[in-house]
Symmetry: C2
């Protein structure tokens, strides 16, 4: 998956590994994140596969930056991936639900504390999506001419984030209320 995210960002223009990491942190973070270690190793693999190429770092650049470019094969691969629709329901992995599932054996107050903490965290995330999030995008993602067509889709993903957090908050409130009602 990270493969195609990197190819996607590189389809907007050449970028360094560090820039790709920063872009992900400020855009795809809420539905796909990666450590820098994985980004660098994946870029190496993509280079071996012929999907990207990079100039040797400029000797005059003390930061030793390595700029990656998409090859034709890389662009083809990216479009091949996009053209192949997702035909299955996406399986969900949700650790908190696992914990809730097995919480019958726990102290009621212990479970309540955990749910209340999660509520706080999700409230923060909700606020972030509605306030700082969009503004951060305007500041940190400044290659505006390249992406005017994608902006509505980027906003769609943000809208999902808002809806997801609102849904989660409402669910947490119901579970907390149910537990509090028990004596």
């Amino acid at each position: 998956m990270l493969t195609h995210i990197l190819l996607g960002f590189l389809s907007y223009g050449p970028k360094t590994g560090y820039e790709l990491k920063s872009l992900m942190d400020h855009s795809t973070q809420h539905f796909w994140h990666a450590q820098h270690s994985q980004i660098y190793t994946t870029l190496h693999r993509l280079r071996e596969q012929g999907f990207v190429w990079s100039e040797e770092p400029d000797a005059a650049d003390p930061l030793n930056r390595r700029i990656y470019h998409l090859t034709d094969a890389g662009r083809d691969e990216f479009h091949r991936w996009l053209a192949q629709p997702q035909t299955n329901l996406e399986p969900i992995k949700h650790e908190l639900l696992v914990r809730v599932f097995f919480s019958g054996a726990r102290d009621r107050d212990e479970v309540l504390d955990e749910l209340r903490l999660q509520r706080r965290l999700h409230q923060q995330q909700f606020d972030y999506y509605q306030n700082q999030g969009p503004e951060m995008w305007r500041e940190k993602l400044p290659f505006s001419s390249e992406i005017f067509k994608e902006l509505p889709f980027w906003l769609s993903t943000l809208e999902f984030g808002v809806a997801y957090e609102a849904m989660t908050l409402a669910w947490l409130d119901r579970q907390i209320a149910r537990l509090e009602a028990q004596t």
Copy 2:
């Protein structure tokens, strides 16, 4: 994670690998699933770690079933895990959102087809949660005396599933409407 799910189910009583797989397929499936291969190898690992033990398959049993039991160490580990609350927001990995994010370069109709297909699939899932789901539980998870305390928590996870699908359907409808409005 699978580790603690298996320990959790075994805390209700001894079970075979096959039974654990079947239990997961009918209960945790909507927030954590696993292939049988992973379940069997994880059980081997748990045995080496001393968290479970198993009788040698009964020579009289032609199906060669291997029944796993929780050890004291296994029970301790399960409770240690439960007592350690989740203090972070759970990172989300959502492939469909990655595809939407990069859909600016695609044909509008191609994107619409994909979203409509996802809408159908999520509608099915929503119906499943509301109808067959709970009934399936009553049939397939029959160790009722062991789990009367956990049932409310199991229903909580199902309630999350319903809320998640409703949220997703509403989001998909908005994205489909937005794209359809474009000419």
